[in-house]
Amino acid sequence: MKKPKVAFFSLTSCEGCQFVLLDLGKKFFDFLRKVKLIDFSLIEEAPFPKGKIEIDVSFVEGLAIKKEEIKLLKKIRKESKILVTIGNCATLGGIPEMKNYQGKERTIRYIFKRLDGVLNPEIKEVDNFVKVDFAIPGCPINGEEFLKYANQLIKGKISEIPQKPVCTQCLHQGKESCFLRKREPCLGPISLAGCKAVCPINGILCYGCRGIIKKASPKGFLETLKKFKKPEEIEDNLEIFGIRDHLEKLKAL
């Protein structure tokens, strides 16, 4: 049987999701042995081929900020049967999306004196430019979860991540130690599980980096949170990992 062709692309980002993959060590290299690797600039030298390539699965990390990145993204789409976003940036806009809420003209002024030639577009997720077939969310992604879905994707199977809230994986669920019981605005109940609730378990609120579960009705929940803390603080929390715009679309804010 012919090996499926797989490629990894990194647009503007911290590249942390790629490092999650490398940090899987042997498990990741075993996965790579099952496929024909077309591009992964972190571990090989060959440039992205110019002509027709027909990739089975492309994984895209990061944001298209520069014109060249948008062009590359469109080429990736054209060449790929399945396009998958990996990570919070590509899927939901990520940390850089915060500037959209602040007025992007203001934000850049703080850093550089001369700005000729610097692009300062509104931050847009990958699905604003091309059709996305599957998303592996999170900041960063969970390596084990990646392997689970990647192994299905290379067989051409696109499934759905079970739509359960982060709380279902949290050790504090239903206990005194739950942030919500302490009137701390944890977003666990409306956020997509799959991260093993790694933040609340480590003593930090869930800020929803994996996005909002489908069919959730976040409006009432967010109203409750606004009783715990000032409404602006709740809005600040929703901006950290780029979910505020999604909640606005759902008319939850």
């Binding site: 990194s10 647009l11 503007t12 980002s13 911290c14 590249e15 942390g16 999701c17 790629q18 490092f19 999650v20 490398l22 940090d23 060590g25 042997k26 290299f29 690797l37 600039s41 972190l42 571990i43 090989e44 030298e45 060959a46 440039p47 944001l63 298209a64 900020i65 520069k66 060249e68 990145e69 990520g94 940390i95 850089p96 915060m98 500037k99 602040q102 203001r106 934000t107 850049i108 703080y110 850093i111 550089f112 004196k113 001369r114 030639g117 610097v118 692009l119 300062n120 900041c139 960063p140 790694v198 933040c199 378990i201 480590n202 003593g203 930090i204 800020y207 603080e233 600040d236 950290i240």
Partner: protein, 425 residues
């Protein structure tokens, strides 16, 4: 003649190289430039609450999130007059040491080593260097386990917060690590020996080396003095009056010391603080210099030895980690919650990240919101130095074929271990 490498693979972040050289060998133009867009991390932080800083700055870089998190916590603690406990200092040092081991090993083995054997793909590398790759993977595994125990996660650790930690590690897990760490030290000795045998290119250019300094141990966290060449400055003095940031060429900052390029990172640290290396690391370094008849002076003039310096540091920081864990096991780790009182204030911090000194500076208002922020990364500091080195290298590669030319240029760029995500934040 034009030499271009549109996209240099196998570095952290995406970058390219362009040069224009006349027939007589005169360099008319030389650029090492980022291909990434600007995320505007410093701008984004303006108006945000102080405790968001570590979460946000971690996302500057996926391979070195730890130094960014710790530098932001430390700077904000200075601003808010928060005194951190000895327990916090030890745990943070361990976290930082583990990150240096992790980042160096990745760079040494997976990004740079293939350059010296004309291997173009890491899967081929794993086949050719079976024993070595297993050793490298084991070293990374232990560094990542430490990061997980202390930080909760490897990429973008969760627990370090302004004032200390949101959750304390379980001591039992450290005891297990302590057993494994001696094996990792053996692996590191093997890795050092692998890098001892590499055919390092001849190269010579004198430069300045900047690091933190205390004249009593191999320093990397919470130091007050910066040493550059034979001069010493307080951190504040060095940051505010001795270096200039060139902000005219966005999206990358470039930094000079009194108008001169300088080097930071592993080779700089060994130049300034080499006599404080742990026993075995120091022995291995001396052995290498002696066997290859390299003088002290020649070693620090050849940037390619940054690679060997990183290998020595992997060994050194494994020893340091072992000592830190022993120290931590003596402590009854206890939950702490320092009181935080807001006031308008500013705070600056410096620490040794894998690639060199990293500065974080913040100003906060009476409500604990950030209204000014500046981050100077190691890569921004060594970019001029890299360009100067490339200018020395270039005339010597002009007679080579195109492929070899590119290979040589690429390998010099890679020994710097540039972090483009950090440089283009």
């Amino acid at each position: 003649m034009k030499i271009t490498i549109p996209h240099i693979h196998k570095i952290e972040g995406e970058a390219g190289f362009w040069a224009k050289v006349t027939k007589t060998g005169k360099i008319e133009e030389l650029k090492f430039q980022t291909l990434l867009g600007l995320r505007q991390i410093e701008g984004i932080l303006i108006g945000r609450r102080y405790f968001e800083a570590p979460i946000v700055v971690s996302r500057i870089c996926g391979i070195c999130p730890v130094p960014h998190i710790l530098a932001s916590c430390t700077a904000l603690e200075k601003a808010l007059d928060i005194k951190i406990s000895e327990q916090t200092v030890l745990l943070r040092k361990l976290l930082l040491a583990a990150n240096i081991i992790d980042s160096h090993t990745l760079h040494l083995f997976f990004l740079s080593l293939p350059d010296f054997f004309n291997i173009e793909n890491d899967l081929a590398l794993l086949k050719k260097f079976k024993k070595e790759s297993k050793a490298a993977l084991r070293i990374r595994e232990i560094a990542e386990e430490i990061t997980k125990i202390v930080g909760g996660r490897v990429v973008h650790p969760i627990t370090p917060i302004v004032g200390g930690f949101s959750r304390l590690p379980e001591k039992e897990r450290f005891k297990k690590i302590l057993k494994k760490i001696s094996f990792a030290i053996n692996d590191a000795v093997f890795l050092v020996d692998t890098f001892k045998k590499i055919n390092y290119p001849d190269f010579e250019r004198k430069t300045l080396f900047a690091t933190v300094f205390n004249n009593k141990d191999y320093p990397f966290y919470l130091e007050r003095i910066i040493k550059i060449s034979e001069e010493k400055f307080t951190v504040g003095d060095f940051y505010s009056t001795k270096i200039e940031e060139d902000l005219k060429n966005p999206p990358t900052k470039k930094v000079k010391f009194k108008g001169r390029p300088y080097m930071v990172g592993a080779i700089a640290r060994i130049n300034n603080n080499g006599k404080f290396l742990e026993g075995i690391a120091k022995e291995k370094l001396e052995e290498f210099k002696k066997e290859n008849k390299i003088s002290e002076e020649a070693f620090f003039k050849n940037t390619f030895f940054n690679l060997f310096s990183q290998a020595i540091e992997v060994l050194n920081f494994l020893e340091i980690s072992k000592n830190l864990i022993k120290e931590i096991l003596k402590f009854p780790l206890k939950e702490e919650k320092p009181e935080i009182k807001f006031k308008p204030a500013s705070g600056l911090s410096v620490l040794e990240a894998p690639r060199g000194i990293l500065f974080h500076y913040y100003e906060i208002d009476k409500d604990g919101r950030i209204f000014n922020c500046n981050i100077i990364t190691p890569t921004a500091q060594f970019l001029y130095n890299l360009e100067e080195d490339l200018k020395v290298l270039l005339p010597n590669v002009l007679n080579l074929g195109k492929k070899d030319q590119i290979r040589k240029i690429r390998s010099l760029i890679r020994v710097y271990d540039p972090c483009i995500s950090c440089a283009t934040h």
